[in-house]
Amino acid sequence: MTTPLLLLDDVHQTYRPKGSIFSRGPAGLVQAVSGVTLDINAGETLGVVGESGCGKSTLARMIVGIEDPKQGAVRWKGTDVSTLKGTERKAFHRSIQLIFQDPFASLDPRRTVGQSIAEGVLAHDLVAADAVGDRVQQLLRQVGLLPVHAWRYPHEFSGGQLQRVGIAQALGVEPEVLVCDEPVSALDVSVRAQVLNLLNQLKTELGLAIVFIAHDLDVVQHMSDRIVTMYLGKIVEQGPCDAVYESAGHPYTRALLSAIPKKPAPGYRIDRVVLEGDPPSPINPPAGCPFHTRCYAAIEMCSTVVPKAADLGDGHRATCHLAEEVSRSRVGQPYSVV
């Protein structure tokens, strides 16, 4: 097996709940990400799904390096990034860029789009100072915008256009990995597809690896080669896109599949499960399987024994005691009733 481009090796991230000066916050630590092992290979799209608060964004922040994991290592082409210094570290950070969820918030309202795009190019001295303008024009064209847009301010654009600007800004520093943190959830449905197509096109053109984070499986399905499902800071299932869709081995993935608003074709029906309540507190995760409090398939041992990842073949793994049975079930999947 070749060395993955980026490897997260058992990373943990914890936060201390905020108190005031005079009172400590609640005792314990928020375990935002606990024990995630994940590889990202050149040129592939990795979809990460999970509900709000499951640690997706924290994972994204650790991948792009604005947060260091409290425990575990991030390896870039085999090298632990915490050992990188100076220019090497700068080059590593340049190689991984982030696309934000809300393009209105991720661009400085006081700077023209051209200035924003030029910023990364300038910060790394990627082109000669007098060629920066040409580079900006080129980047704008690459994401399907016009060169005149360089002199506009963010408030003069629509959400879809701004998200393109955000992509151009990230591409300016010539990254190898693009982490997209829910890049289309803030956009109108009508422009979502355009942005997603642009990402796919760039991936083919530039050989980018894309980490695509979303809270619904529907969008991820159209984008990803591999899918990772997260729950409460842990990976509960991962595998090739089709395998996860067709034979999901974790009840949580099944619940996410059920949540896709989709009308079954005539003669088919979908058994849906609806998750009750909120995810448990990440300060004090439940014993045993973290999902057992909301799981439709939970049995007695789930509340005491932590499940191990069960191998379902072809790199498809689900962390569930009942992975085999669940993967053979048809919850959340259309099936014929004729």
């Binding site: 340049r94 918030a105 006081r110 924003s116 879809g160």
Partner: protein, 304 residues
């Protein structure tokens, strides 16, 4: 997707121009559009006139304000002496004209120094946080915990000779903290915005992020506050004079003139002695308030 269909041709490339150019453009646009805003036009006129008065009072009067004749004491307006004479029989118009310098100097110096101190301390505290923040913020808390009027009186009372510098020192001592806190708050707010994180991920240096992204987006309220505090400084100077701890005679200041007019009920005999300096002070203060309000609207990047 693209709602506009401009051609790419004939476009000169200058994407690295400074963001501040935009702010300057907005202020210019505001000043140019002032003829459509009567209040702003009046405010600007007052500020310009009073500023010229402060710099070259000789342009407005050729009478020496110290050329007094007691026999003319408290005489009303007469040809050549539009404001009449004060208690000492000095020409009151030239006195008021010469008083502009002190008032403006106090106002502008207080606003300017507060601006600089708040800018440096507030951005250090807000942006870098940690120990620097603790030291600066606790110092500000101490200042804000002091009853300003009483403390000012006590401090000013200690000085044997009080000039513009003394007044400015005391006022800045008590105003920097509030302004600093305000800027620190906005810096904290801007610091955690996504575009600042985006710049970090792009590899832009910390100081550059502070100067390029954080300060330009956090400084607007500071500019507005500073404009307003010019008027506040001028009013405070007058207040100190009335309380007897202001600038000492024989200086000229509107505050001293109001104080003289208010002592021993002088203004009941010659109300104009109170009216003229008070009117000048009120108009100038109001002018800065109007300017500040208009700046606030104009500096919002979404207004155009």
């Amino acid at each position: 997707m693209l709602e506009e269909s401009e051609t790419a041709a004939a476009v000169e490339v200058r994407p690295t121009a400074e963001g501040t150019r935009r702010r300057r453009g907005r202020v210019e646009a505001l000043l140019l559009s002032s003829w459509r805003r009567p209040f702003l036009a009046m405010a600007l006129l007052i500020i310009v006139v009073v500023s010229v008065m402060a710099i070259v009072p000789q342009l407005f009067t050729d009478i020496d304000p110290r050329d007094c004749d007691l026999s003319l004491s408290r005489l009303g307006p007469s040809p050549g002496h539009p404001f009449g004479f004060d208690m000492q029989g000095c020409d009151y118009f030239s006195n008021v004209v010469y008083g502009a310098r002190t008032s403006m100097l106090v106002g502008v110096l207080v606003a300017g120094l507060t601006f600089v101190i708040a800018l440096v301390a507030g951005s250090l505290a807000g942006y870098y946080g940690g120990l620097i923040d603790t030291v600066i913020s606790r110092a500000a808390d101490i200042v804000l915990g002091v009853p300003v009027m009483i403390a000012s009186l006590v401090i000013l009372y200690q000085f044997k000779s009080r000039g513009v510098g003394t007044i400015v020192f005391v006022l800045v001592l008590f105003t920097w903290a509030g302004t600093m806190r305000y800027l620190r708050g906005t810096v904290l707010q801007v610091k955690q915005l996504e575009y600042v994180q985006a710049a970090r991920i792009l590899g832009v240096g910390r100081l550059r992020i502070l100067s390029r992204h954080v300060l330009p987006n956090a400084i607007t309220p500071l500019i507005v506050m500073s404009t307003l505090s010019v008027g506040a400084g001028m009013t405070a100077e007058a207040g100190f004079s009335i309380l007897g701890v202001g600038i000492k005679l024989p200086a000229f200041s509107w505050g001293l003139q109001i104080a003289a007019a208010s002592s021993d009920g002088n203004w009941q005999i010659a109300p104009l002695l109170m009216l003229f300096p008070a009117l000048m002070l009120a108009l100038t203060t109001l002018a800065f308030v109007v300017l500040g309000e208009n700046l606030r609207d104009a500096l919002d990047p979404r207004s155009s």
